[in-house]
Symmetry: C2
């Protein structure tokens, strides 16, 4: 068994049907500062044998096993029973848990379905749930730790700062894994890999992960040696240069927004092919109303003329997907909203709409600033969603680059 | 071993770091018509022992095991070697594969990194890759089947219709699992569960899954008995009544769009708190330009007045988040874009912005139709993203309900 290896078991038949399991990265992030890396993730249906089998396998391979879900009050919540079977331990009714639940819910007598939630594995330590009725449980055996957690994120997440960080640290005393996340835009995953290879060679003891988004690339540098991680991050920052737009959990829109806010400037936009996506990325940021005045989604030519003042002659002569239209859209948005800066997008997101000389994926952009309007174009690959996402990120990237 | 049980093994260290694994639902959907349900999903890092161990476990429990990823040309592509170790079979260089690759890429001699991709497990059948260089492999042993697939979706997905559907059907001859997906809006997951309980009781042999989205609920009914699935679906449709907005892969925006298109009518919108999200959901639909004219994202009061003609007195007297402003925004959008219908959203997405009597999550909506404007409000729970997503879905749901 490798030291510092953890495993995650997610339960719920819906995870094998239609629901996306979004938990592995969230748990990985929680575990790194505690000195653990995820070695495997398993998703199981709501079956006692299945969950018990997954748990047993995980406990054989790993020092720390987290099981998420199946602690509710209903018939298909079987994680407690599965853990009892896997560890061959009894389930014991906890009067303390019953008292806490009754107090929290202002009940004199617990209804029957709460009683199932007061069953603890023999020797388990209960973890109070600040957002629900299911207790978590920590069970230690032979230098290993099994943790049972409720399924909903808002229920298990607070258990880390409240109890688990301390429990895990005290039990294992592992050095934290340092993680630096660098975010870049305007380069492909393969370009990024090539660019960063020198850093990866120079720090062979560290973990490097490259994650590609639409027009963006994320690098994670991780390792127990915090100095080496910081050193590698410094090298990577230099190698990335202007492509680096931020670190941690930031976004392109947030990077542009911070610059605007610092300069006391405002932004507006005019979108055709991105159809509201760029505005959505901007307004997703709390407080964006401080610097974002609004946007126009002008899907029709009439809207381009009526709201933004794009001339009918421009649309007739050059078409909606053209440098000239992009220019007039950006200038028009800046005028209509009275903002300092404005950008525009007009292109062919597909699958239909291509014309000779204007293939699917072609997008024209305009960037209007106090000193004038700049236009440029890109040819993106992929389906409708990919083209739109790349276009929105591309114009936000150019915007944050022209801002001081 | 349960018949018709399949397992999925996904490889790639990034799946345990920061990348979401989106594959389980996609594979579940591919496998249902072949008579298989996913019994477990495992995500492993790029380690030969780890992948081999996950494969061995899966093959013990299941008749069909799919392994996705790790077939590329580089040092960390170890799935072929792991399968050889797990099955104790040799890897053999395939001249046929080499010939196909050389032909596809117009090469006389294969470069060394292509050679690794010509290694087949003894007795394996190669699956040609129409979008990449990695062959898939099908290995049969003792009534079971192991399938190795390349990681990128655009590479493994076409292998199903091209080869795998036929291979799996011929090997197992299982009756397909029928699946019906019903989509509803305007009710909570718990309400939906209560509403549908009679159908679940009446068809105990079927699988029912309830998936909650922001303001939407999805029901999957599945089973080998197609007649029973159709019968249960009919009962559920009746129980859901007007809450049912579509079936299969449709969305609320698409449901509204189909009605608009059929009636030859057009739509526009004015968004404040949803900040472009509603327009984005609409323009995500290919061909939406036939009936969607555009939208205004009016984050500032000036934009509300300038673009939509909301009166300064209305904003002053009632505030931006009010029935009156929602009404003038919707009417203004209908006028500005010249559309038959228009909707508006104005609310407090949070975390800031609450005022006495106007808590975070309060959203006012307007729906402008040829016969007049209707306004209504909702109080949503959750964080900024959840409030925005619920608000966008809520107004699209009301829109599709008022359309004939």
């Amino acid at each position: 068994m490798k030291k510092g290896r953890a495993e995650l078991v997610c339960t719920g038949s819906e995870l094998l049907g239609g629901k996306l399991n979004l938990y592995a990265p969230l748990f990985a992030e929680r575990l790194a500062p505690l000195g653990f890396a995820l070695g495997r993730e398993q998703s199981c249906g709501d079956s006692l044998e299945e969950i018990a089998d997954a748990m047993k396998g995980a406990l054989k391979r790993s020092g720390l096993v987290l099981v998420c879900g199946g602690l509710g009050p209903t018939f298909d919540d079987l994680t407690r029973q599965a853990a009892a079977a896997a560890l061959r331990r009894r389930l014991i009714y906890s009067k303390d848990c019953a008292r806490i639940l009754a107090f929290n819910y202002g009940l004199k007598k617990l209804p029957p379905n709460f009683k199932n939630q007061c069953l603890l594995l023999e020797g388990a330590k209960p973890l109070e749930n600040s957002n629900g009725t299911a207790f978590g449980q920590v069970i230690r055996r032979g230098g290993k730790m099994l943790v049972l957690l409720p399924g909903p994120r808002q229920e298990w997440e607070p258990m880390f700062p409240n109890f688990l960080d301390e429990e895990i640290r005290a039990a294992f005393r592992r050095p934290p894994v340092s993680v630096v996340k660098l975010r870049a835009a305007g380069l492909w995953e393969t370009q990024a890999e090539k660019l960063l290879r020198p850093a990866m060679r120079r720090f062979p003891g560290l973990g490097f992960t490259i994650l590609a988004g639409p027009g963006t690339v994320e690098f994670h540098i991780s390792g127990a040696d915090g100095g080496a991680v910081a050193g590698a991050a410094a090298v990577c920052r230099r190698l990335l240069g202007k492509a680096l737009y931020g670190e941690g959990e930031t976004t392109l829109a947030a990077a542009a927004g911070e610059k605007l806010k610092a300069a006391g400037k405002t932004l507006a936009c005019a979108e055709s092919c991105t159809g509201g996506l760029a505005a959505e990325l901007i307004t997703d940021i709390p407080g964006s109303s401080d610097w974002f005045l609004g946007g126009a989604v002008t899907y029709s030519n009439t809207a381009k003329s009526g709201l933004l003042g794009v001339r009918a002659a421009t649309l007739r002569k050059h078409g909606a997907v053209s440098a000239q239209t992009a220019r007039e859209m950006a200038a028009g948005a800046r005028r209509a909203f009275g903002s300092d800066y404005a950008f525009s997008t007009t292109g062919i997101a597909g699958p239909g709409g291509a014309t000779p000389g204007k293939p699917v994926g072609l997008v024209w952009f305009g960037l209007a600033a106090p000193r004038g309007v700049k236009v440029f174009s890109r040819q993106f690959r992929g389906g409708r969603r990919q083209v739109r996402a790349c276009a929105a990120n591309c114009v936000l990237d150019e915007l944050r680059k022209i801002l001081k």
